[in-house]
């Protein structure tokens, strides 16, 4: 690390520096965060500080007026706060200084450093951390400027590159495809066959995007009724599928069957009454619940587990492919922010 002459530093413990078992030791609850701020404030050489504490990362951005001792004082404070020997802490944590610290903040906020590249949640977490830092008096002129400008740069990265585009988990991929078919999901009805974990997640994701009308089908009506009570929706027996399928626009199926539940002849019979209403079939079952020939029908869109997984994987690859461009923007922006901080006399020259 190049800490020597820097007044701005960041100490980070994250998935890139240590495995999960070690990261767990750095996790803090709200009260502990407050306590750590207090411990830091007790050191007169720490002028400003910002703690970012998520399930996957602990980071401490700080401004010190003693460039030489600042780093060791912070490490000692953290070592005693966590009860982790200093040698061990130094092995777990990585320190960046000056412009690199700003670049790191931008990259973290934009999701470039997240375990799931491009995930959006981290931006909100950094915002919350900043808000907490302001409440507890950790932020001064340097942290305020750095974070506000860093947020702008992170937003620029997210808007000008595909880093956050495309869903990367199967349930959200299915919801995105529903949106491409139906536009809005407010008036869409979804039928869930089988009560597996992915079905439940997909149903939840659909509900969060506006779907209200759900049907829950199971091999036994009792089971369907019990799940429908828990998830919300109309219970059905799978055996009578042809009597109610036309009432739905999306079918999510993940039940154990030896023969496909939904066949092309069955759909062909039901199709005229749908009057061109699209039908989105999400087959999450193994063996498959929907005959692949159903895809041949007009207005029927069939996706199985492999299709959804492939889309998720492709989206992730697209995100990773854009990391280089995003890092370049982060570098340019951190350079500009650093110069601005120097001009204002908030940091000393590198």
């Amino acid at each position: 690390m190049s800490s020597g002459h820097h007044e701005l530093l960041v100490v980070t413990v994250n998935h890139e520096t240590v495995p999960m078992e070690e990261r767990e030791r750095y996790s803090l609850d709200e009260i502990q965060v407050e306590a750590l701020y207090k411990a830091l404030h007790d050191n007169s050489i720490i002028e400003e500080s910002l703690i970012l504490n998520t399930c996957n990362r602990f980071e401490l951005y700080f401004k010190t007026n003693e460039a030489r001792n600042g780093r060791s004082v912070v490490y000692e404070t953290l070592s005693s706060f966590y009860g982790i020997p200093l040698v061990e802490l130094e092995a777990h944590a990585k320190t960046r200084g000056g412009q690199d610290a700003i670049k790191h903040l931008i990259e973290v906020s934009a999701g470039l450093r997240s375990q799931i590249t491009g995930e959006a949640e981290i931006f909100g977490q950094v915002k919350n951390a900043y808000s907490k830092c302001q409440q507890l008096g950790g932020a001064g002129a340097l942290i305020n400027r750095m974070v506000q400008k860093g947020f702008q740069a992170a937003k620029l990265i997210r808007h000008s590159t595909p880093i956050g585009q495309g869903q990367i988990n199967i349930s959200n991929v299915a919801v995105d495809l529903s949106l491409k078919i139906f536009g809005s999901l407010d008036r869409v009805s979804a039928l869930v066959i089988g009560t597996g974990e992915i079905s439940e997640k997909t149903a939840k994701a659909l509900r969060s995007r506006g779907t209200h009308n759900f049907g829950i089908a199971s091999h036994s009506l009792e089971r369907a009724e019990s799940v429908a009570q828990e998830w919300g929706g109309t219970p059905h027996a799978v055996g009578e599928l042809d009597s109610y399928l036309n009432g739905y626009d999306i079918l999510i199926s993940s039940t154990n069957v030896e023969e496909p539940l939904l066949t092309k002849p069955l759909l062909e019979r039901l199709h005229p009454a749908r009057k061109n209403r699209p039908l989105f079939l999400v087959d999450l079952g193994l063996p498959r619940n929907v005959e692949s020939a159903c895809q041949d029908l007009d207005n029927v869109y069939l996706y199985n587990l492999d299709d959804l997984a492939k889309i998720a994987q492709d989206n992730l690859s697209d995100r990773q492919a854009t990391i280089h461009t995003s890092e370049k923007i982060a570098s340019q922006k951190s350079d500009a922010i650093w110069q601005m901080l120097e001009k204002r006399g908030l940091v000393s020259s590198q």
Binding site: S160, T161, P162, Q165, G166, L177, L179, K180, I181, F182, G183, K275, N276, P278, Q295, D298, N299, Y301, Y303, D307, K310, I311, D314, N315
Partner: protein, 287 residues
């Protein structure tokens, strides 16, 4: 004759350049930079091109003392002008992503063709509508409905592209930036109704004059116009009865529009200046 130092075809040439640039920028931004072709900048560029085209057509119209619809070049330009006008004034209500890029592409292709073939602009710089502004209205409305059907052909192509991507599970290219197929089917219906109503109004006006002087319209023009009107009428009927699948309906919209474009030849062939038109032009200039 020139306005602000440029002749009518030069204004239209500039408009074509703007439409082409909009298409290229929109495609580059979407396919290479993976950004949504921003509606504001597409709308601004297309509007700018449309203003240039309007100046060119206005300048041409001043030479007739009426709507410039006297040869194939002018018919195509007026059709393009109508389609762009629809995109600018009604398009934002549709909220269809990439419609601006598709519309500017459509305008570029037709404009380049009409500028490329000199024979399309065979001069007939005389008024063709005689004394009645209603006949002019009839022609302008008919051409405007073709503009609407042009946009309908574009949204139908978008539907087919989007539906094909969903069927074949190809999520690249334009797919992430296009509207949902449900929205496209609704817009297609609204455009068909709008275009059919405008064309029907145009034919209703024309029929009043035709019944007074049956010889004034040649059989080819009459046949072609009625065939196009009937084709869209039947399509609307089938669409309302849900007899056709959306895929068949979209293909039908594209095919009928292509045929309708060729039917403009029949319209053009009948556009000989009316007797005494030259004197009308001269007198209107004096006024």
């Amino acid at each position: 004759m020139s306005l602000f130092g440029l002749a009518d075809r030069e204004w239209i040439f500039l408009a074509t350049v703007v439409f082409t640039v909009t298409t290229i920028l929109g495609s580059y931004s979407t396919l290479k930079l993976h950004r949504k072709a921003g509606r504001p900048y597409t709308l601004s560029l297309v509007s700018f091109g449309w203003i240039l085209q309007t100046i060119g057509l206005y300048e041409r119209g001043l030479q007739y003392g009426g709507c410039p619809l006297a040869n194939r070049f002018e018919l195509v330009q007026f059709l393009v002008w109508s389609a762009i006008a629809l995109y600018i004034f009604v398009g934002p209500a549709f909220r269809v992503s990439l419609l601006g890029m598709f519309t500017s592409g459509f305008a570029s292709i037709l404009s380049i063709l009409s500028l490329g073939f000199d024979s399309w602009d065979s001069p007939s710089r005389e008024p063709i509508f005689g004394l009645s502004p209603w006949i002019e209205m009839h022609a302008a409305l008919a051409l405007f409905s073709y503009g609407v059907f042009g946009i309908l052909a574009l949204t139908s192509s978008m539907y087919l592209l989007q539906s094909r991507s969903l069927k074949q599970k190809k999520m690249g290219g334009l797919f992430p930036y296009m509207p949902s197929i449900f929205e496209l089917t609704h817009i297609n219906l609204r455009l068909l109704v709008l275009g059919f109503c405008i064309l029907s109004s145009s034919l209703a006006i024309g029929s009043v004059y035709w019944t007074q002087d049956i010889e004034s319209v040649n059989t080819l023009k009459l046949g072609a116009t009625i065939a196009v009107w009937l084709a869209y009428g039947v399509l609307l009927f089938l669409r309302n009865r849900e007899t056709l699948s959306y895929k068949q309906y979209s293909w039908a919209c594209i095919i009928i529009f292509t045929i309708a474009l060729f039917s403009l030849d029949a319209v053009d062939s009948s556009s000989t200046p009316v007797a005494g038109a030259a004197s009308i032009s001269i007198s209107s200039t004096h006024l």
